[in-house]
Symmetry: C2
Subunit: 354 residues, 2 copies
């Protein structure tokens, strides 16, 4: 039976990925040198498409890294000298805070648990403030308006927005943040192993200001990433397959249109939350509709979550488990590759499981 993955990443491949991977093999893309003109064209095209799809302003640049874990580490090394603030509402925002502590940063954590960010609780004093667009572990979303509200108060800090499992399905105003990042195995439906780091000139200035005062890395110092990106290259031999296929998927998404992707995401998430709320065994983990994630929907289960996961698996639908041990939850991804039809089918089947 054909399986469909609704796991929150790695997830179902974007529906064109298989063909792009094969085309890459046919065209020897995975054999070309990462210093060749052929690769530079792939790199340039990929960045240009990403900027087009997301309407990224000209003062932002794009670097390719290997994972979001790596980008957390590079942000800490390159943009923070002494102190950072982390708005925590789940395991991944907490992990970024933990990483800062491991780097001997005086990192403060502001815990919002299952709640919306409260702007008054966030001080305007940190070198860098870390926010999360979409917490993949808890299914908490931060609205565009909330991010703008925070920016209007926090003028001096570099604001870093974790967009894993958010981009391109959950829109926000890019000018409200100085850097944002994501990995490609979530909404973009690619094989894992590629992280994307977008940063503006404020980040570059900060990096240059602190780079003599601490160790800012080697091949992936921001300066090195930036210098090489101006030549459409990476310092190291990168995941060429990832960059090539990402570029192709970006083109496909431009053809679909970002507005259509966002509208379909909203439709499908409403459908699923309705299904969950009308289900006698299931209950939305996040009650406040303002912060219910559109892309990672988390539900508490009356019985063992494995029961629902296994029953759906038998029908060909692969759901995610709750994040962390002992969570009696299911997590369901709503990514651009999941069509409305498939989501309706998912909801119909989920209704029958009791």
């Amino acid at each position: 039976m054909k399986k469909i993955f609704f796991t929150p990443g790695p997830s179902e491949l974007f529906f064109t990925v298989e063909e792009h991977i094969k085309e890459g093999i046919r065209n020897n893309i995975y054999s070309i040198s990462h210093r060749s003109n052929e690769f530079k064209i792939i790199y340039e095209e990929c960045v240009s498409r990403l900027k087009d799809l997301l309407s990224i302003p000209n003062n932002y640049n794009v670097g390719f890294l290997s994972s979001t874990n790596e980008i957390w580490e590079r942000i800490i090394q390159n943009l923070i000298l002494e102190d950072s603030g982390h708005c925590v509402n789940g395991s991944f925002s907490k992990k970024f805070h933990d990483f800062a502590l491991l780097n001997k940063i005086n990192a403060k954590s502001y815990s919002f648990d299952m709640k919306e960010y409260i702007v008054d609780d966030i001080p305007n004093t940190h070198e860098l403030l870390a926010l999360t667009l979409n917490e993949t572990s808890t299914g908490i979303m931060c609205s565009r308006e909330k991010i703008s509200e925070i920016r209007s108060k926090i003028k001096n800090s570099i604001i870093a927005l974790d967009c894993v499992s958010g981009i391109p399905s959950i829109p926000f105003n890019i000018n409200d943040v100085d850097t944002f990042y994501f990995s490609v195995q979530k909404c973009f439906g690619l094989p894992s192993g590629l992280g994307v780091w977008v940063y503006n000139e404020k980040c570059l200035e900060k990096h240059l200001k602190i780079k003599e005062k601490k160790i800012t890395g080697t091949y992936h110092s921001l300066q090195r990433i930036h210098e090489m990106s101006l030549k459409y290259q990476t310092p190291e031999t990168p995941n060429v397959l990832g960059i090539y296929v990402f570029s192709k998927v970006l083109k496909d998404m431009m053809n679909i249109g970002i507005d259509n992707i966002v509208r379909d995401t909203n439709y499908k998430s409403s459908l699923l939350y309705n299904t969950i709320n009308n289900h006698s065994d299931l209950d939305s983990f996040i009650k406040n509709k303002e912060i219910q994630s559109k892309t990672v929907i988390v539900a508490n289960c009356k019985n063992e979550s494995d029961m629902y996961i296994n029953a759906m698996k038998e029908r060909g639908f692969i759901l995610g488990k709750g994040y962390g041990s002992g969570k009696n939850q299911i997590r369901i991804a709503n990514f651009p590759t999941h069509s409305k039809e498939v989501f309706e089918l998912l909801c119909d089947e989920l209704t029958l499981i009791k």
Copy 2:
């Protein structure tokens, strides 16, 4: 026309890679969770096959990272507190030394230029000594005997062997080194984006001894990599496609047999060196046969190297350029995927180009 890549990495894909990538798509491998049992089995199998193919002793462990550049950085962070020694005979061994300096390590460089390592020149005092099995930039190889000779003198230092473009074609005694590493886009013929780090208990002990005294990283500290590897997982979402296909290629290479791979490598390299030495326009860059690389053959060119590269390209053979600007050289990879027949054809064609 079908092209064949003789570039020293990324290079021609191993001849089974296309089918393995496609099989991975068919079996949803790139959608499964990296925390699932399915992934753990892939991880465990991959490590077990690598240990079998290379006869890696039981006191060595394997970690998956994103590139050799990253492994250099992790070695410096995790295994060196204050000082290291680097035997330099090309651009890549020099880069490792540069990385150590960037990390404020008191790193000494021992330059051997185009020469063999001279054991008497290498002191026995460093915390870590960096050697290179095969310098991809210059085509200099280090023999198994030379590594053993160095080990017999250097008892206390951790010996780190760079095996990029060497493993599995150039054999050495693993017990002579404490850690070695490589990336998969060279001899293994995989798409780029995966680095493999092998380390023994001496490395782990050293890491635990120094980890309180410095910043040893976050998700990829050796301790974290090691803890997760014992559960057949990586700390971050890894390049699952890379690990899956690598495991399949390892199985294929075990079926061919490591002895056959090494024998064919030797035969093909002899053929190519003969062709170069009998060519009126070409000349081996490395004259001393003891250190002529078996896997990356570098030749000086009488005329512009582009002339030879372009002429061969018209015939479907993609050669590498000299490494670094202004080098009037060609570099030709001799990897396991290049058959004897294809190498004979390459040599025949090369002979005709003048």
